[in-house]
């Protein structure tokens, strides 16, 4: 039944051309980097309000132009490469983080599909798809690509000839080994229920109102995935890689200017990706039938983004050994039990 649904959708849409995909890629790059920059502003504001401060106020109305000021600063700052560092690796490490974050976004549905109007020269009539590359194993690709993104911190830490950097790199490996199993296992139970790895199928599975959302069927998987997602994006309870109070700035200690900024564009893009996955897999995704379907998913994504900032304001962070303990001794058995129960229920 699902295959007929998928075919139906495929035949319904206009032809996807290479030009359309290139335009889509440019849109994703531009918009997500802009949102990532705006995300830093939102993060500073939300954290400030939660700590009874005002946050950035002086550049522009309510400090809105702070992003521009930060951007100018990052772009014009001197790009320092330490003397004993492995220069080539040091230079490409931030690019790995940023690039993998955006590659992961290539198989995630971002923004609705549309056709460029005919009156625009050159590009008129080109159909721009919702997903840049509609793999039928989208979820696995995104998770795999985000895992590859950890090479950025790892190589950055090891190439910079700095003890803090080495500790940051070691923590990257520790963190990766901890959460990766939980991410995979927690999302396996919803995959079993839907019977597909494609985001479109996930979305179509939950189209019968709020009660059909996956979160009601798989609450444990939802919580586990959120926890693993926080670890995956280095958000606060698990920001071991660059925790200022412990390892000066971890893997980013020696970085400055745009290379440092690229790590953060990557981190914010990853936050958006995790938010999108969580909204599509567990919170019903977008409603493709109605006009405001895209608005609902934007709200869901915004909620998850806000949750990450909220948690950062509220909770302290854990030690690396506590993270390992949590992931391997608590979350992984929970995920396995969840899968078992799901399988038994599906069989009966």
């Amino acid at each position: 039944m699902e295959t007929t649904l998928a075919q139906h959708i495929v035949t319904d849409l206009p032809q996807v051309t290479a030009l359309g995909i290139i335009i889509k890629a440019i849109i994703i790059l531009a918009v997500i980097s802009a949102i990532a920059g705006f995300g830093t502003y939102i993060e500073r504001k939300v954290l400030a309000f939660m700590q009874r401060r005002l946050g950035p106020m002086h550049v522009g109305p309510f400090g809105l132009l702070q992003i521009a000021a930060d951007g100018i600063k990052l772009f014009t700052k001197e790009d320092i490469i330490p003397q004993n560092a492995n220069k080539f690796i040091f230079m490409i490490a931030p690019i790995i983080t940023a690039a993998t974050a955006f590659i992961a976004l290539s198989s995630v549905p971002v923004f609705p599909d549309f056709t460029i109007p005919e009156f625009i020269p050159l590009l008129g009539g080109v159909f721009v798809p919702s997903i840049a590359s509609d793999l039928n194993i989208g979820i696995l690709f995104v998770l795999g690509m985000m895992a590859a993104g950890l090479y950025g911190p790892l190589l950055a830490g090891m190439s910079q000839a700095n003890k803090w950097g080495i500790i940051g790199a070691a923590r990257t490996a520790v963190q990766f080994l901890s959460y990766e199993v939980v991410t995979g296992l927690s999302i396996l139970a919803p995959i079993m229920l839907v019977g597909s790895l494609s985001f479109v199928d996930f979305n179509n599975y939950q189209q019968e109102g709020v009660l059909s959302w996956m979160i009601w069927q798989q609450p444990v998987a939802f919580v586990l995935f959120l926890i693993a997602g926080f670890a995956e994006t280095n958000r606060t309870p698990f920001d071991l890689l660059e925790h200022e109070a412990e390892v000066v700035s971890g893997y980013a200690t020696e970085y400055s200017g745009m290379r440092w900024g690229m790590f953060f564009i990557g981190e914010y893009a990853n936050m958006i990706t995790i938010s999108i996955i969580a909204s599509i897999v567990f919170l019903g995704g977008y409603d493709s039938a109605s006009m405001f379907g895209w608005l609902t998913i934007m709200l869901k994504i915004a909620f998850f983004f806000f949750l990450m900032l909220w948690v950062r304001a509220a909770w302290p962070h854990v030690r690396p050994d506590q993270l390992m303990w949590l992931c391997w001794k608590v979350l992984m058995p929970l995920a396995l039990v969840n899968i078992l129960i799901t399988a038994i229920v599906m069989m009966v």
């Binding site: 290479a18 492995n86 194993i137 998770l143 190589l155 990766e180 995979g184």
Partner: protein, 192 residues
């Protein structure tokens, strides 16, 4: 045409990166190029339409195995070149060249045979239309290759148990808490 461009691009990049892996004296370069090569190999799977295998290549080789390499990396100074002990480079060169030659000859032979009978090339398990990649792989894995699959699972289980036992010998000693230290610095509270 896109496939051809992608194929030659990926091939050139992969060969170049793996050459760096073999030739480089810097362990960081070697590891980085190995990881990059692994990522690009998954590109081949994607161009062939085997999305699932491509992603598995990404997750397993790039994620899991390279994480282990990176742990090994922690024992080296990543910024220094290593000195290799090469007792007879001529022998290494000879053996390496020979095996490369044999591989090339095998593929040339296969290619010649295939050119003679182009129709003879058929997939043992062709892709089913309308079914996802994962389902195809699952069908083959759980019918024809069930026994090797289960044997591999048992092997991994054996390795896991062995690992747990190796690590478990010292599990009672905590690495983070020194119980003796607590007594030394214990503050004697005054009794009220």
């Amino acid at each position: 045409m896109y496939e051809l461009i992608a194929f030659y691009l990926f091939s050139a990049l992969i060969i170049g990166l793996f050459l760096v892996t073999v030739m480089s004296k810097n362990i960081l370069y070697a590891m980085t190029s190995l990881a990059a090569g692994m990522v690009l190999i998954s590109g081949f799977f994607f161009t062939l339409g085997a999305d699932f295998l491509g992603v598995v290549q990404l997750i397993v080789y790039v994620g899991a195995i390279m994480a282990l390499y990176s742990f090994a990396m922690m024992f080296f100074d990543a910024t220094k070149d290593i000195k290799e002990k090469n007792t007879s480079s001529a022998l290494v060169f000879l053996l390496g060249g020979m095996s490369a030659l044999v591989l090339v000859l095998i593929f040339v032979g296969l290619n010649q045979a295939n050119l003679a009978h182009p129709d003879a090339i058929t997939a043992l398990y062709p892709m089913t239309e309308g079914v996802g990649n994962a389902q195809d792989v699952g069908m083959v894995l759980f019918t024809k290759y069930l026994v090797p699959f289960e044997v591999a699972a048992v092997m991994l289980l054996v390795a896991m148990i062995a690992g747990i036992i190796l690590a478990g010998k010292k599990m009672d000693d905590s690495l983070t808490e020194d119980l003796g230290a607590d007594e030394e610095i214990m503050i004697v509270k005054d009794k009220k």
